[in-house]
């Protein structure tokens, strides 16, 4: 490379231009500038690591920190006290050699129980929000992108029949289920044939083509209906009916909290699909799916991310509330909610039983909320320009 070319090259590009950053690098830079959000993010990271470490340390047949080890003579020991080792079996002695957060009324180590609970909170938060966001993106995207398309009577009938067939299948009425399935398949095939409307013997079926409402109406009214239920009591009812387990709680919380995301995604899609770059993508001959997932989705992801972060905090709160009321994860397993619940009887004798989970919940939820709020500011393009 000659010197002259080298000089021209660098002069044209690097010297007088701000450094070129990718959007993710830019987001990271803004996150570090926003102190509250960064603090939230840091707490979130610490919580994540602690929960991961917790699940490793407290699970298995002989966990290093056993959260369910009962030591009755050691009950209600305050935080940072040393165990009286003379009265304990060797395997009952806590691995740390100290009760970091004291013990509860059965002499169980609160620190190990908090660790075990951290994993519950983390998974409930993420899985529930994962379910909610998946449903929200799907429904919101449908309502936003295909919203103006009509839902026809035939479509409704199709789904009703499928649902009934599945219910029959679950009730082991295989014959009825099979009959309905055949009916649905026949209907679907007939529609595919695109018979002329007035052809005799099928002309009378044209009522199936009657539009009932738009896809947008269907989905958004479903959202409105879901929002009518006070969701905590809805969850309580469902959880009371189902056998108590961690997975049921995750799924139920997820299935009752997708409405906000749906609205966000729909709103984003409504404005984005009218953008010129979507028209340009269509003029290049790209298919609908590619446009939705590659061109619109990345532009719509910011508000989803924000609502997901806030959603994780609220899912954790809901889980803690359920556990506190005794509807959560079944008892031997510790969660922050049931530690709190157990501790409330001893609030004056052993305040650490209340404060340890209480302050942790407060901190983690606050961290998620701060991070979410910060993310909203950071991902807002108008604020981006200014910084």
């Amino acid at each position: 490379m000659s010197t002259a070319k080298h000089i021209a090259h660098s002069a044209a590009d690097e010297s007088f231009m701000p450094p070129s950053r990718s959007p993710s690098a830019e987001t990271w830079r803004l996150l570090r500038k926003n102190r509250m959000a960064f603090a939230g993010f840091a707490i979130f990271l610490i919580f994540f690591i602690v929960a991961l470490a917790g699940v490793l340390l407290t699970s298995g047949n002989r966990p290093i920190l056993d959260p369910s080890q009962v030591r009755l003579q050691e009950k209600l020991r305050p935080p940072l006290s040393y165990p009286k080792t003379d009265g304990l079996h060797p395997e009952e002695v806590p691995a740390l050699g100290i009760y970091l957060l004291g013990t509860d009324d059965l002499g169980r180590d609160v620190f190990s129980r908090m660790l075990q609970g951290a994993w519950v909170s983390l998974t409930v938060g993420f899985v529930a929000v994962g379910i909610a966001v998946a449903i929200g993106i799907l429904l919101g995207g449908l309502a936003g992108y295909f919203g103006q398309m009509p839902v026809r009577l035939g479509h409704l009938l199709f789904w009703v029949l499928i649902t009934v067939a599945l219910i029959f299948l679950m009730g082991r009425l295989f014959l009825w289920s099979a009959i309905l399935m055949v009916l649905v398949a026949a209907g679907a095939v007939l529609r595919r044939q695109q018979l002329p409307q007035k052809t005799f013997p099928l002309g009378w079926l044209s009522w199936l083509n009657r539009p009932v409402m738009s896809i947008d109406t269907l989905i958004m009214r479903a959202v409105d209906i879901m929002l009518c239920f006070p969701s905590f009591f809805l969850i309580l009812t469902v959880v009371a009916l189902l056998p108590p387990s961690l997975y049921n709680i995750m799924v139920v919380i997820g299935l009752t909290s997708w409405m906000g995301t749906t609205r966000f995604v729909r709103a984003e899609f409504l404005s984005l699909r009218e953008q010129d770059f979507v028209a340009a993508a269509r003029s290049l001959g790209l298919g609908d799916m590619r446009i939705i997932f590659r061109h619109i989705m990345p532009n719509a992801v910011a508000p989803v991310l924000v609502s997901a972060t806030l959603g994780i905090a609220s899912a954790m709160l809901t889980e803690a509330g359920l556990s506190f009321l005794g509807f959560g994860v079944p008892p031997p397993h510790a969660t922050w909610g049931n530690i709190l619940s157990d501790g409330k009887d001893f609030i004056f004798d052993a305040p650490w039983l209340t404060f340890a989970p209480g302050i942790t919940i407060l901190l983690v939820v606050l961290a998620f909320n701060l991070f979410g709020e910060g993310l909203r500011d950071i991902l807002n393009p108008k604020l981006r320009e200014r910084n």
């Binding site: 044209a12 770059f277 028209a279 340009a280 003029s283 001959g285 298919g287």
Partner: protein, 336 residues
């Protein structure tokens, strides 16, 4: 001079209506139009005269509803576009016909690099690997005159200027070497010097890649620079068509004449510019007969009752005005 089998795109009696509250808006109300191979055809007209709707109808990009193609045929190469299924049409879009939009600032997806977006056009139609597509994208950026394409290929749209972005849009349209490029006012959002550069680029690319260009604009200055053949549209119909020379020097429709009279020129310096009295009729409430008659100086009683036929002046020059029709080459090629 131009053989019939040279016709690349032909539109016959296209009518596009928009449904809404009140009567339908007759955005395009029966137009016939042809684009020959390697020809530059301009469609000129005011905002709302149906230029863009025509282009979108060709590309199959009209939102239906509210738009409704009431009648007409569009032939592109061997395809009858209005009868194709959505996947067939999609295979043509971007491959053999492409569009350049008006707003380069918003027509690029802000979250992807420009190289990514050009590659996507290639990958959508050609069996190419990502690496090949990326190389082709760099080559295309070079073709459209972007300096240092190796670097620019990984730039985000916000890092480029308006002119550069429009060049990128053109590169995207060129990606699969289409036979027809529809350019919808591609220079309107740019300043005049950049506009001249883009026009020059389009002309040069047309020579190199043997494309036809259907150029939509309201700017007669642009038309003068690039057009081989011109269609003047008013309120959803074509009022005059002819070579650029015919339109600029021998205009025979009062609307075309009025447009030309409203152009600023050196001779008119210091004078008040001519403006056409009245305003464009709303597409839902068009006057009967010739849509221009309420604003026309030459109107006669017959103009108010029936749409005048196209009067043929020979040499491909036709105008929809029998009042001014002085048959040098007498023959009425009108329909209706």
């Amino acid at each position: 001079m131009l053989a019939a089998n040279d016709i690349l795109l032909s539109i016959e009696d296209l009518r596009v209506h928009f449904q809404g509250e009140g009567p339908d808006a007759l955005a395009v109300d029966g137009i016939d139009l042809q684009v020959h191979r390697q020809q530059t055809v301009c469609i000129v007209g005011e905002s709302g005269c149906g230029k863009t709707v025509t282009a979108l109808a060709v590309m199959g990009l009209l939102h239906q509803p509210p738009a409704k193609i009431v009648s007409g045929r569009i032939h592109f190469k061997t395809h009858a576009l209005l009868e194709l299924s959505a996947p067939q049409l999609r295979a043509l879009r971007g491959k053999s016909m492409a569009m350049v939009f008006q707003e380069p600032m918003t027509s690029l997806n802000p979250v992807f690099t420009v190289g990514n977006q050009i590659s996507e056009a290639i990958l959508a139609h050609d069996a190419a690997s990502e690496a090949q597509a990326k190389r082709k994208a760099t080559q295309l950026l070079d073709d459209v005159g972007i300096v240092d394409p190796d670097k620019r290929v990984s730039a985000y749209p916000h890092q480029l200027s308006g002119g550069q972005r429009q060049r990128v849009m053109i590169a995207m349209a060129l990606a699969c070497e289409p036979d027809l490029i529809i350019a919808d006012e591609p220079t309107t959002a740019l300043d005049v010097t950049v506009q001249a550069q883009i026009l020059e680029l389009l002309k040069q690319l047309q020579r190199e890649k043997h494309m036809a260009i259907q150029y939509i604009t309201h700017d007669l200055g642009v038309v003068e620079v690039i057009a081989d053949y011109v269609y003047v549209m008013y309120a959803g119909i074509i009022v005059e068509q002819g070579s650029a020379d015919h339109i600029f020097n021998k205009a025979n429709h009062p609307y075309t004449r009025a447009l030309l009279a409203a152009l600023p020129t050196k001779e008119k310096r210091g004078q008040r510019l001519y403006s056409i009295p009245g305003s464009v009729p709303h597409p839902s409430y068009k006057p009967k007969g010739c849509p221009f008659h309420p604003r026309c100086e030459h109107r006669q009683l017959s103009c108010e009752t029936s749409l005048p036929p196209l009067c043929d002046y020979g040499g491909g020059h036709m105008a929809r005005c029998p009042v001014l029709f002085k048959p040098d080459a007498p023959k009425e090629a009108g329909n209706e």
